[in-house]
Amino acid sequence: MSYKMGEFDVAVVGGGHAGVEAALASARLGCSTVMFTISLDQIANMPCNPSIGGTAKGHLVREIDALGGEMGKAADKCFIQSRMLNRGKGPAVHSLRVQADRMKYHEYMKQVCEKQENLYVKQGEVAEILTENGKITGVRTKLGAEYSVKAVIIATGTYLKGKIHIGEESYESGPDSALPSKFLSGSLAEHGIELRRFKTGTPCRVHKRSIDFDILERQDGDENIVPFSFDTPTDGLRNQVSCYISYTNSKTHEVILNNLHRSPLYSGRIEGVGPRYCPSIEDKIVRFSDKPRHQLFIEPMGLSTDEYYLQGMSSSLPEDVQLAFLRTIEGLENVEIMRPAYAIEYDCCDPTQLSPTLEFKKLGGLYGAGQFNGSSGYEEAAAQGLVAGINAALKIRGDEPMILDRASSYIGTLVDDLVTKGCSDPYRMMTSRSEYRLILRQDNADQRLIPVGYHIGLVSRERFERLQEKISQVEAEKKRITHTNIAPSEALNMFLVEHGTSPLSTGCKIADLIRRPQINYNDIAQFDTERPQLSFEVCEQVELQIKYEGYIEKQLAQIEQMRKLETTLLPENTDYSQVYGLRLEAAEKLNKIKPHSLGQASRISGVSPADVSMLAVWLQKHKEENNAT
C-alpha cells in the first residue's frame, strides 16, 4: 500500500556525515528538504573512530567550513582532545585532528538539523526511487509513504545491504547494530545504476576499567588549540582527555596466525573489496610479516562513557580470538570487550557513473555522496555530501553548478579522482593525492573557498567581508616588508648568527630575511620597529606567502596551464565513437566517463595527449559547425 506524505524539493537518503551536510546545504540554499534516516538515534554517528580530521582529512574539514558546511563547527563544539599533526614538516601538511565525544557530536548535529529551517528529518527506510519519463519524481519508504521530490541524494554509507562478519558468524546489519537498508539497491539497479560490494571494518570497544593506563605511553593534546572553523573563537578551547599507545608483540601475532582460518576474509566468505589504508590487524600481520610489532592507539569514545576505541586493531576474527589476542598486549592483559570488532560489507556505486557535480549521468536529479560513492571516512563523506547538496539545490534554483577543480581544494581533488579515475578500493584522502598541495593548505582554506561559498549563498556577506579585510591586511603587510629596509646592527647580526644564518653587511629588505628558512616572521619583530599590530592569522599568511613565494608562483603557473584545459567544456551527450580518428580505446573510455571538460578528459587513464589534441580539433570543428547553423 502506498500513501502520499508530502512534497519537497530534495530528499536525502541517509543521515550520516554525508547526508547531514547534503541536507543542511540544500535547506540553507532555500530548497525544502527531507532527510531520511533508518534511526534518528544514528544521525551523524561515528561507528568507527571517535575522531575528526587527520592528515588531508583536516584540510577537508576546513574546506567544508569555508564553503559553509557544518562539520568544522560541530567538531569544535564536541572535541575532547585536539592536535595539529605534522608540525615541523611544513605548513602544507599541517593537519588538524581531534578526538570527539561521539554522543555529543551526534546530539549536536541532530539538533542543528532539527532547528534548520526548510529541513525535515524523518525516520524511515527509503526503498524505492520513483521516476517518470527518466526524471526523478519521488521516493517511497518501506512502509509505503510516498514523497514527491525533484532530486534525491543517496548517502547510505554502509547501510545498503549491509552485512556484518565476525569470525564464522555473519548477519544482515547496518553499522553499530542499526537495521540495514535492504530494498533500495534493487530500485537503483532498476534505474541502471551499477552497484558493487565494498567492505570495511572497525575494532573492538573496550571498558576503561580493564585498561592498565599506568604502564602505557600517553599522548596529550596541543597546548595552543587551533579550531577547525574559521568562525570559532580560539579562547576557551581545551583538552579534556588523553590517548594512549601500546604495541602488539610476537604472542599477539601467534594467536592471530593460529586462528587465521577462522577469519571470513581468509576463508573467502567476504566478497567485498576492503580499503588498503585500513587493513585489519590480521592483514597487517600477514602482509608485513617481518614487522615485530604493530602500534595501537587507545582512545576515549567520549566524556559520558567508559568505552575506549582501539585504533589499529580492526579485525573480523571471532570474538573469542579477539579477546585472546588483545589480552597478549601490554596494558590490555585484563581487557573487557564491550563491542566486538567486525567487518561490514555494503553496496556502493562505481563513482565514474557520476559527473563532477556528483549527479548520475544516467539519471539526472539523482546524486550520490559518501561511502556510497566508494570513498571512506567521515570527512570525505561530509565533503561529498556538501557538494551533492549544493549542486542539487543549485540545479533546482536553475543556477550554474558548483564544480571545484583540483587546484581549488582537496574537495575538488577528491571529487575529480572519484568521478574521473574511479576507485578499486574505498578511497581515502591523502596529501600525496594533490599535486597542488603547497597552494591547498589548511591555513588558507578560507581564502580559497569562502568566496565560492559566498557566491553560492551559504556564506554570509559579513563573513565574506571579514575575509576581504584579512586579505587586504596581508597584502599591505607583505608590501610593507618587501619595501622596507632593515639596516645591519650588532644586535641583528648576533641574532642572525645565533639562528645559524649569515650576518648582514649591508641593509636588505625585511622580506629577504624572512625568506631565509632559519628566520621566522615573529622572531624578527624586535628589529622591525614599525610593524603594525596584526592577528595571528594575518601574520601566518604573510610569513607563508613570503617564504614560499617562489614555489607558490610556480604552482600558480601550473594551475593557470591546467585551467585552460579545465575551462574548455565538452558538450554533454557526445558519442565519442562518432568522433573521427579517435582510437577505439580512447573513445570507449571517453564514452564511459563522459568528461565535463578537456582537462577531465586528459586525466582519464587510457586517453593520451594525442587523443586530447584530436578532441581539441574536433571540438573546434563542432563549435564552428554549430555556430554556422
Partner: protein
Amino acid sequence: MSTIAAISTPNAPGGIAVIRVSGENAIAVSEAVFTPFGGKKVGDMPGYTCAYGIAGDKDGRIDDCILTVFRAPHSYTGEDVCEISCHGGIYVSRKILRALLNNGAEPAQAGEFTKRAFLNGKLDLTSAEAVMDVISAKSELELKMAEQLREGAAFRKAKECSGKLLALLSGLAAWTDYPDEDIPEVQPEHMIGELRAVRSTLQSLINGYDSGRIIREGIPAAIVGRPNVGKSTLFNCLSGCERSIVTEIAGTTRDVVEETIRLGDIVLRLSDTAGIHETDDKIEGIGIGHAQKLIDTSELIIAVFDGSCPLTADDFSLLESLKGRKVVAVINKTDEELKIEEDYITQLIIHTVYISAKENDGVDKLQAAVEELFSISRDSFGSATAANERQKKCIDSALASVDEAISAIESCLNLDAVNIILDEAEQHLLELTGEKITDAVVDEVFSRFCVGK
C-alpha cells in the same frame, strides 16, 4: 599557448634543415639562440623578414643560419613563428633545436603545428579530419619510437632513477600522511645521498645524449663478413666517399669505421667492420672483437659474401651467428663468375641481394631489401627525433628539479616544499612511461608501509 619547437624538415642528411618555433614566446626564445649579423635583434624584426646570423648555445657558435620571422596572425600556425634554416645534417639541426628547448620552448607534440594552425582558424573547417589524421599517424609513429627507445640502456637507467625517487617520495608521503604511525623518519642526509646518486646517473645520461652515443639518429647497422669480401668497398659505395681504405690486402680495415648514410628513405648509422676470422694479429684481433660486438648491438646487419668463391668456414660460422636477426645477405662481386653456394644462403636469409660494389651495381636492390625489412616511411625518423628529444627534455628537467631539491634540502627548506620539487622530478621521469605521479606514490605507500587504523 606554450611555445613549441621541432625540426620540420625530414631528419636526414640534406642541403638545409629548418627548425620551426611557434607560440607566444617564439620570438624571445629564438632571440636567445640566434644573433643576426650587424647587431640587429630578432625581437625588432618585422614579420615576413629574414636575417642572416649565427645560431649558438652556451658553448658558442653552432652554425650560420637564416632566420625568418612571421608575426601573429600572419603565420602558418597563426601564432608568432620563427623558422631557422641551417645547413643540413642531423647534428647541427638537432643542436639548434636543443638550444631552443633549453631556452624555454617545449618539444612539439605529434602534429602540433598543424593542430595549432587549425585551432587558430588558419586551416579550413573541412581540413579537420586531415589534421586529425596527421596527429594520429604521427603520434602512433612516435609511440613506436618511444617504445624502441625504452628498450635501450638509457631508458633502463632513467627507470632506475625514477624508482629511487619513488622510494623517497613514498617514504615522505607515508611519513607525512601517517604521522602517528611507526614510519621511519625521513632523514635529510639520506635524501641528499640518494638524490646525489640520482643526479649523477641523470647527468651521465645527458652527457651520453650530447655526445650522441646513446641514441643517435638512424638505424644502427653493421657491414660484416670475412676479410676481403668487399665490405669496405660497399661501405664507401653507400657513404659516397672514400671513408674506408680499400686494398687487395685482407684485413685492411682494423677498426670500426662509422658513417651516417641515407639509403633511399632510410637513414642508417652504418659501421664498416674488420673482417671476422681467426687471427694472431693483436690489433686486427681487437677490431674483430668490436665487429662481433656490433653484430650483437646492430639492428640491421648487412652480411657480405664473396660470390666469386665457395663459402668458407668463416662464412659458415658467420651465417650461424646471424640466426634470428634482421639481415640482408649481400652476394658481392657479380662482376666475376659466381661460385658461391647461393642456395645455402637464401635458405637461411630471406633477403639476399646480388651486387657488384666495385661497379656500384645493385645498390638499389639493397635499398629495396632494407626498406622492406623495416617498412617504415621517412616520417618515422622525424618521429624518432621528436620522441628522442622529448625524452631528453624529460631527463633534463628531472635533473634540474633534482638539483633544486638538493639545494633546497641543504638550505633547510621545509620538507613539504622539497616534496613538491621531488614530485616534479619524478613526474618528468614518469612521463617517459606515461605514468601519473600521484597514483604511483599512493600505490607505493600501500605496498611498502604498513599503515592504517
